[in-house]
């Protein structure tokens, strides 16, 4: 609670400094033009309450708004929460279980409708009515959510989201305090849509929005046109600043190679997909000024199934962690500029992160070199030598090459290993389902919001393990009652003392790492390649490049 009040006052102070004239002046100078973006394919449904992709979330930033938002800023500032459709950060009462927001006045949707408290209530109900992908996790703590999850169609969230039309306030009641609720409310799954938005996946049909832009055309096979919202008037530069380009044209279907060439030739301004590995050398030397390297809060890792031989044996798991040469993996990903070796779960510069690496030649804070001798000794001690291990990887060049490398490592330390590449569309759900008896896999986790629990609690808590389900995100099947209790304690502590909670998360990170339910491989970085005409490139740590804060003229 204390944390929330402090955040509110800090936000108010920062808001003042943000109202510097720079943005307004730049707007006069650079406003207009079309930014042309490329991606191999569309990001799926247009519905912001359903879409759960990086690509979609990035594009929604200048289009939709929630009661609160991540600040549209670079660096650590970009992780802070600021009021968006709400006038200010909420007042917190009832021991951190009640949040009261006052809605801004005079905001209109792109279709001309006024924004009102009824839209807020309807939007929260809609999260459950459409069985949103995070309705059972992020928003399950709202009073009445249990009934909504049991019977989605007749969801009212009675007592959970209460509107006061006259006062223009919305009161959010939780079943218990949640230190991360504001982060969750700032995600696209909690944006406010018109109350009459049908309670179904809108697919390719754009939904009216409140931000400076709106989706004016969409064809999942061709592209998307985002143009200015005629009803937008800037209310908060830090939450939803007006953008520079008049139009953002997002075209789909071009391969990565072709996209690079298009950007080089000035026919496009940016590509969503990762740059092809065989173009990195050329771009890194000839187009340095068009490249932007930014840190990501992400983790490439190899989950080991703690409920199946040979990795039901802790020593066998630790053996793999000792044997993997992270430098080789970094090489496969494009080199040290694009990735850093890791041993632990929490990414660098993330809340709760304290450098820790027990599985290296000289155990300590950082990984230095593999210890294959120790790995072989652990395999012997575990009595698992000679057992068969299958590694399931995605059918992409990088994932396949990591799988092939790990197969070499496992063979070297005494296992009989093979690799199975599976279509990228299927692999993530395949490795989660216990029926598929996956022993080892290669996957990635990108933060939803900046909290240690988003990695540790989600990936390694007992509750995240669901037998026979495609949504068992605890892929390792790791369940340690003691660690689970500590995670719960850290979540509760975060409500009153985030610093102490982060200390506890750091200790939990070390304990989970020691048990090796997964082998940390590396932390990737984001490499953005933009055309020469793109100016004012800004990278937000939560949603990546802030597209409409760049100009093209």
């Amino acid at each position: 609670m204390k944390k929330l009040l402090l955040a509110a006052s800090a936000a108010a102070l920062l808001a003042g400094s943000w109202l510097a004239p720079a943005h307004a002046e730049y707007l006069k100078e650079h406003r207009g033009g079309t930014i042309r973006l490329l991606a191999r394919s569309a990001a799926g449904t247009l519905d912001p309450h359903i879409n759960y992709t990086d690509q979609g979330w990035q594009m929604y930033q200048p289009i939709y708004d929630g009661l609160v938002a991540f600040r549209k800023a670079e660096g650590v500032d970009g992780f802070s929460i600021v009021p968006d459709l709400a006038e200010a950060l909420p007042t917190v009462s009832n021991d951190g279980k009640t949040f009261t927001f006052k809605l801004r006045k005079g905001i209109k949707f792109s279709n001309g409708q006024d924004l009102g408290v009824k839209d807020v209530v309807a939007s929260f109900q809609r999260i459950f009515k459409i069985s949103g992908p995070t309705s059972g996790t992020f928003y399950a703590g709202i009073v009445g959510a249990d009934k909504c999850l049991a019977d989605t169609k007749s969801c009212t969230l009675e007592g959970g989201v209460v509107a006061d039309e006259a006062a223009g306030t919305i009161t959010l009641n939780l079943t218990k305090p949640d230190a991360e609720i504001l982060y969750k409310l700032a995600l696209p799954h909690a944006v406010i849509l018109p109350a009459d938005t049908p309670p179904e996946d809108m697919g390719s049909k754009p939904i009216p929005s409140t931000g400076p832009y709106m989706i004016s055309a969409f064809d999942p096979n061709k592209g998307m046109t985002v143009s200015r919202n005629p009803n937008f008037k800037q209310w908060s530069e830090e939450a939803q600043p007006d953008g520079y380009p008049d139009v953002v044209q997002y075209d789909f279907g071009l391969s990565e190679e072709a996209a690079v060439t298009a950007i080089q030739n000035g026919e496009a301004d940016w590509m969503f997909d990762a740059l092809p590995s065989d173009r990195l050398g050329e771009l890194g030397s000839k187009s340095m000024d068009q490249l932007h390297i930014s840190p990501l809060s992400a983790w490439w890792y190899a989950p080991l199934n703690t409920r199946m031989a040979p990795f039901d044996n802790e020593k066998a798991r630790q053996a793999v962690a000792y044997a993997v040469d992270r430098n080789t993996l970094v090489k496969l990903f494009g080199g040290k500029v694009l990735a850093s070796p890791v041993c632990q779960v929490l990414p660098p510069d993330f809340p709760g992160h304290e450098d820790y690496c027990p599985f290296t030649k000289n155990p300590g804070a950082k990984w230095s070199a593999p210890d294959v001798g120790k790995a072989k000794q652990l395999v012997e001690e575990s009595g698992t030598k000679g057992q068969k291990v299958t590694i399931i990887v995605e059918d992409t060049a990088i994932s396949r090459s990591i799988g092939v490398y790990l197969q070499s490592v496992l063979t070297n330390i005494g296992y009989v290993a093979d690799v199975k590449p599976i279509s990228s569309n299927l692999q993530f759900t395949y490795i989660q389902n216990t029926n598929n008896k996956v022993q080892m896999s290669v996957t990635q986790w990108y933060k939803d919001y900046p909290a240690a629990s988003d990695f540790l609690n989600i990936l390694f808590s007992c509750a995240s393990y669901r037998e026979g389900s495609d949504a068992s995100i605890n892929i390792s099947g790791f369940c340690d009652k003691d660690i689970d209790a500590q995670m719960q304690k850290a979540l509760d502590l975060g409500v009153t003392d985030q610093k102490a909670a982060d200390k506890l998360w750091a200790a939990i990170d070390k304990q989970v790492t020691d048990k090796a339910p997964a082998v940390g491989l590396f932390t990737p970085k984001r490499l953005d390649f933009v055309s020469k005409r793109i100016g004012n490139f800004k990278f937000n740590p939560q949603f990546n490049w802030i597209i409409t804060q760049s100009w093209v003229q």
Partner: protein, 338 residues
């Protein structure tokens, strides 16, 4: 003189000798056969080549350093200009036994993988051809000879199989079996086994063999020598084995190179899509897939196996055409002494 010559009994050659002689005069077919045999020989020498070159074509060797003209050269070269992004595998050295065709993105010797890949491609396409011919011939013989309900059931089954686009069926079967393998009663095929692509490719081409064989057997079933055998009380299986099968042998022989070429293409396509031969094992399809990510910097990694597939398939098709002409008694190919 002329009357004496006419009086001498003329020694005629048997049909096989005639066919072989016809084939021997077909230069294109013989050249294709020679090319194919060279490819087969090279591929079967893969283990010897890898041993001689001292390379493991299945292990990642990203840190390997080789010697070229006395100088140490890393197999994976890091870009040293600008931001120093990315690693590029070494290109062709054109030195046999020392990364002749360069390295792939795992630092493995492409030449050694090409030979191993060819070995797997040949083994799979060859074994799948045998599987298809055996099952297809049995289905064609039984359907054509016994007719009635047997023919109806078998023909409809073949129609169902025929109705699916070949690649769609092969991809579907591969995806279903790729991760878990096949376990039917006591028969168990592990997921990484080469038997999986062999059986899948073998199954999808059964109608290609069974339908023409059935047609031929239907015609032979109504021929006089078969009626005679039936009337003499010869059992059906014996008629099939001794009278009908020898009459369709030439068709089956012509099928061999043509089916093998088709199977090789299918295997490469499946492996390219990651649902055929599984890494780290190689086939020409998987090497093309590996090379796809290197098209810009090391195009040979994808081009050479592609060329190997094209040459092998062309050689098999040209040889198959020659074989068909040679075995066809109505063929216009004339031999000097006949």
């Amino acid at each position: 003189m002329s009357s004496q010559v006419a009086a001498m009994p003329r020694k005629t050659r048997g049909p096989w000798a005639v066919a072989f002689a016809k084939l021997a005069t077909d230069r294109a077919a013989m050249a294709s056969l020679a090319v194919f045999l060279i490819i087969v020989l090279a591929c079967f020498s893969a283990p010897l080549y890898a041993k001689w070159a001292g390379t493991d074509p299945f292990a990642s060797t990203l840190d390997a350093v080789i010697q070229i003209d006395g100088a140490d050269v890393p197999v994976m070269e890091q870009s040293t200009e600008g931001l120093g992004l990315g690693y590029t595998p070494i290109g062709p050295t054109w030195r046999l036994g020392n990364y002749f065709l360069g390295a792939d993105s795992q630092g493995r010797d492409v030449m050694a993988r090409l030979l191993y890949g060819g070995l797997n491609s040949l083994l799979i396409s060859g074994a799948a051809t045998i599987f298809t011919l055996i099952v297809g011939t049995m289905a064609g013989l039984i359907a054509g000879y016994f007719g009635g309900i047997t023919d109806t059931v078998l023909s409809r089954l073949l129609d169902v199989l025929w109705a699916f686009p070949i690649y769609l069926l092969a991809i579907s079967l591969s995806i279903v079996t790729i991760a878990q393998g096949i376990a039917i009663g006591p028969i168990e095929i592990q997921s990484g086994s080469l038997w999986l692509p062999i059986i899948i490719i073998g199954i999808v081409y059964i109608p290609y063999v069974a339908r023409p064989i059935r047609g031929q057997v239907l015609a032979l079933r109504h021929s006089e020598f078969v009626f005679a055998a039936i009337n003499l009380g010869v059992p059906g299986w014996r008629i099939l084995w001794r009278d009908i099968l020898p009459n369709i042998t030439t068709t089956l022989i012509v099928f061999v190179p043509l089916m093998m070429a088709l199977n090789m293409l299918t295997e490469s396509a499946l492996s390219f899509l990651s649902i055929g031969v599984q890494p780290p094992a190689a086939s020409w399809g998987t090497i093309i897939q590996d090379g796809q990510a290197l098209l810009y910097t090391r195009p040979l990694v994808a081009l050479v196996p592609g060329l190997a597939i094209a040459i092998s398939v062309m050689a098999l098709n040209v040889f198959g055409d020659g074989l068909r002409d040679a075995l066809d008694p109505r063929s216009k190919v004339r031999l000097g002494r006949d």
